[in-house]
Symmetry: C2
């Protein structure tokens, strides 16, 4: 079951140039920055309510974010939902006709398990499902 929005991912060319907008113009706080090597991005986190804004800056032209910026320019890249059972959620989505980018969850940031749904089957919204890893 979907519990809340984990984060909203926003593609930007250069985090340093965008920080003053979120911090000064909107008054939000950047609580952490990190590099996610597997996705070839730098990320800056802005908690807001029970979710957060994540600014995503490509670290390589092969980054999915670099390709997005080339095609669409800066803007909202994806929505991620927290779910309490990512396997069931993916199974249910697939059975109802959704095209999965990841058939099984892959490791994401913060040790989360994540999987993406293809925007061609989600009415234009790149959608990520996130779950805490299972402890056996």
């Amino acid at each position: 079951m979907i519990q809340k929005i984990s984060h909203i991912g926003i593609a930007v060319k250069n985090i340093d140039e965008v920080l003053p907008y979120y911090e000064k113009s909107l008054g939000m706080k950047c609580t952490a920055r990190e590099e996610v090597a597997s996705q070839k991005v730098k990320v800056a986190f802005f908690p807001v309510g029970d979710t957060r804004i994540e600014l995503l800056e490509p670290t390589s032209p092969e980054s999915p974010i670099a390709k997005f910026l080339e095609q669409k320019g800066e803007g909202i890249h994806h929505i991620a939902f927290d779910t309490d059972n990512i396997e069931d959620q993916l199974k249910n989505a697939k059975e109802s006709g959704v095209r999965l980018i990841n058939e099984t969850p892959i490791p994401g940031a913060h040790g989360m398990q994540v999987a993406f749904l293809h925007p061609k089957s989600t009415f234009g919204v790149l959608t990520e499902l996130c779950a805490e890893p299972k402890h056996h």
Copy 2:
């Protein structure tokens, strides 16, 4: 001060066609539907955590959503933040160089006061500020 994300607005061609994705494939609940004549849109609401997804369908070719669909296709249209002081928030944004679409708040859905920031000055993200109306 920004308190939380009020909603995420998603532009769609036809709410009836998109409902099964959110309800069946994702398992979310549509709690209300309404028509906002001033914006020439129909809206469907899906609460999630402390925020909500709003599907926006144009009711006329002159709707801002119709224009968005023409230019970009279906997808995320805007993010709206709840603030406890929309006048201060707008003043601060303007003074720090943000271009305002609404210099002063206008009436939005549910009796809220709302104002939009121009995506050219917010790194591609159409941003709405929302506040409860003041009671004197």
